[in-house]
Amino acid sequence: MAQQVITAGSRRAGRPAEEPLVWLFGFLSVASFLVLLVSVVISGPPVTWIATGIYALCATGLAVTTARRWPFVTFLLPGLSFYLLFVVFPTIEAFRVSLYQWSGIGEPTDFIGLQNFKDVLTSHTFYNAAWHNLVLFAAIFILQNTVGLALAALLHGRPRLHEVYRAAIFLPGIISLVATGLIWQVIFGSNIGLLTPLLQGLHLDFLVRDWLGDDFLTFWLLVLVQFWQWMGLPMIIYLAGLQNVSEELLAAARIDGANEIQVFRHITFPLLAPAFTVMTGLCFIVMFKVFDIPFVMAGNSGSPDGTTDVLSLVIYRDAFGLGTTVQTSLQQGYAVAIGVVMFVAILAATTVQLVFLRRREVDL
């Protein structure tokens, strides 16, 4: 009875006094944030600065009033505000801009509805580039799950100097992508390069090719360079996955008569499924967004003959021009539409991938 009285008494004490203030500041924060977004679109400084100041005040009020009951709000607000303002909002704006015929100069004013999307989905250049992204993904996917995994397995055995090998293999991954592209462009340069004079010096002239001008070779050299730059990451991820596989399980399997291939196939590989899921998803996203190495090595045009063209290069050309001494018309609305299509396609594909691959993950 006493306990009930105490409990009833606590209920009768009512909700915390600051709760109306929480609602008030919450509402003001959302409203002022929306005003800020509108001001960014239709206005400029100093209006946007004022709107930012008002939002900051409201958000601070919200943080203070929620500090006692929900302290995580204080930590969440800055990051969330930044994310909404600089990631989510521009993405939504991109959808809006893609509905306009817009050169990128001034405000978009010529509304054309879904015409840009129609042009994208009937464009040979778009499908050609998307195909190259797909082939690039497939090639890197195979290489990372063979070469990358093999390297991880070798390093897992902790050979002598394994830390040195690990660092050396991972090193290309921390070099700037532009620097990587430039280094390999110099190596493969058609006339003033390193590989051609080297082969000629070794009397291997029959091996000399137009490395960056050959329709077949140039693309596969790009794949090679991209993998050289990328392979440290799958190696490290798989190495971490291998180190999480229980030694007792492996020992038990060996005691039961399993050979090394059987152990790998039935124990190790299934337990690597989480790492496999992560690497597959990352590989897909990165290879569909790839830009730096093709841009530097093969040029803005996806040359020769569009054989190295990827979606990011198509977007760049349409949005910012050829990047050479030649001026062309700019179509930023169309370029943004390509970006929107890419976004939707990558989102759909990675969602399907994750759902499918998660099912095969094995929990210990």
Binding site: G44, E107, G213, N300, V326, Q327, S329
Partner: protein, 367 residues
């Protein structure tokens, strides 16, 4: 440009001009202008993008603010949109063929080729002395584009070019398809692996004397001499298809200064821009920035530049016209195929013409 600014400030000590730039200048500038900020003064793109900036309200109209009396007619046309002046012309560039005088002498070429046949003969002689006759970069399409418009301009002359711009003359006409075919036929005189060669590599090959000639603009000579200060270089006009046509050059506006419509100091900005359009400013630009003059009475002290100005026929660079603006894009994206035997010259001509037709259709829709 720093010297030009210093010369201006001797006359106007109360106005401070800070000249800056970057590799991503155009993109940074456009972002700033779209945001309603940006510098008081900036170098604008040439037409037709200048037209778009003017329509978007990013430029201050200068009709009553600057003295245009000293400008050449071509310069005035380059900055005038629908009767209003939106920029001040600071200099122009001309494109033709740069060549090594000593290599030509060594090959026994005694006069500059004026026709395609004479150029072929010159290339043959150069090849006989084991030098690359002509450096061209097909990979990024810029040099092949300039080669095409140069040679095609000599076929068309000004009237023909105007007809192309209006869609009345087609790039698929046989004499213009012949331009592409001639470029393909000359492939044996280009450097090895030219399909995979980029502009910078092509420039280095020429500047270091490994190649005897390449297409060049007036602004390129500074860069050649930076690579090779001892290079003795000449300039020749694009050779004509035959003796009935004239050799020619292509010219574009190198430097146009615009005043930001939302400038913080519009009067000071307008004063500097206006000064550039005077003989004093024009001479400072020609002497220091090495652009060709666009102001009447301004002379170049460089004999090579004077030769460029004395061209028998000058046709605008094709991307300064709305309908021919995307020819370069076709050369960049598809221009390697004819050299690899994967596309006929006529098929490339069809693609080039399509880019014109698309622009004309867009212009009709916008009206």
């Amino acid at each position: 440009m720093t010297t030009v600014v210093a010369t201006f400030q001797e006359k106007y000590p109360n106005i401070t001009i800070n000249a800056t730039g970057s590799a991503q200048y155009q993109n940074q500038l456009q972002t700033a202008l779209n945001a309603g900020t940006g510098p008081d003064l900036f170098q604008t793109p040439s037409r037709p993008q200048l037209d778009v900036m003017a329509t978007a309200g990013q430029l201050l109209e200068l009709n009553q603010r600057v003295d245009q009396s000293a400008w050449t007619d071509v310069a005035k046309e380059a900055v005038t949109v629908k009767g209003k002046v939106w920029g001040v012309p600071g200099g122009k560039y001309t494109v033709g063929i740069a060549y090594h005088i000593d290599l030509f002498d060594k090959a026994g070429i005694t006069s500059e080729p004026k026709t395609w046949a004479e150029l072929t003969d010159a290339f043959t002689k150069l090849k006989a002395i084991n030098v690359i006759p002509y450096s061209i970069a097909a990979k990024d399409g810029s040099l092949t584009f300039f080669n095409y418009i140069g040679l095609a301009s000599s076929v068309l002359a000004l009237d023909g070019f105007d007809q192309v711009v209006l869609g009345k003359k087609k790039l698929t006409d046989p004499e213009l398809v012949a331009v592409i075919q001639q470029m393909v036929d000359w492939a044996k005189f280009y450097e090895p692996n030219f399909v995979g060669t980029v502009y910078q590599e092509s420039k280095a090959l020429f500047a270091t004397g490994k190649a005897a000639a390449m297409d060049a603009g007036s602004s390129d000579y500074n860069g050649y001499h930076q690579i090779n200060p001892n290079a003795k270089l000449g300039f020749m006009y694009w050779p004509a298809s035959d003796a009935q046509h004239k050799p020619c050059t292509n010219t574009g506006m190198e430097f146009i200064v615009g005043v930001n419509a939302k400038a913080k100091y519009p009067d000071q900005g307008t004063t500097f821009a206006g000064w550039l359009g005077t003989p004093a400013g024009g001479q400072a630009m020609t002497d220091n920035v090495k652009d060709l003059p666009v102001i009447n009475g301004v002379k170049s002290k460089d004999p090579l530049q004077q030769k460029m100005l004395d061209t028998p026929l000058d046709v605008p660079v094709w991307y300064e016209r709305f309908s021919t603006e995307n020819i370069g894009k076709v050369w960049t994206e598809q221009g390697q195929a004819p050299f690899e035997g994967k596309m006929k010259a006529a098929d490339l001509a069809t693609l080039l013409q399509k880019s014109i037709d698309d622009q004309l259709a867009l212009a009709a829709k916008q009206q």
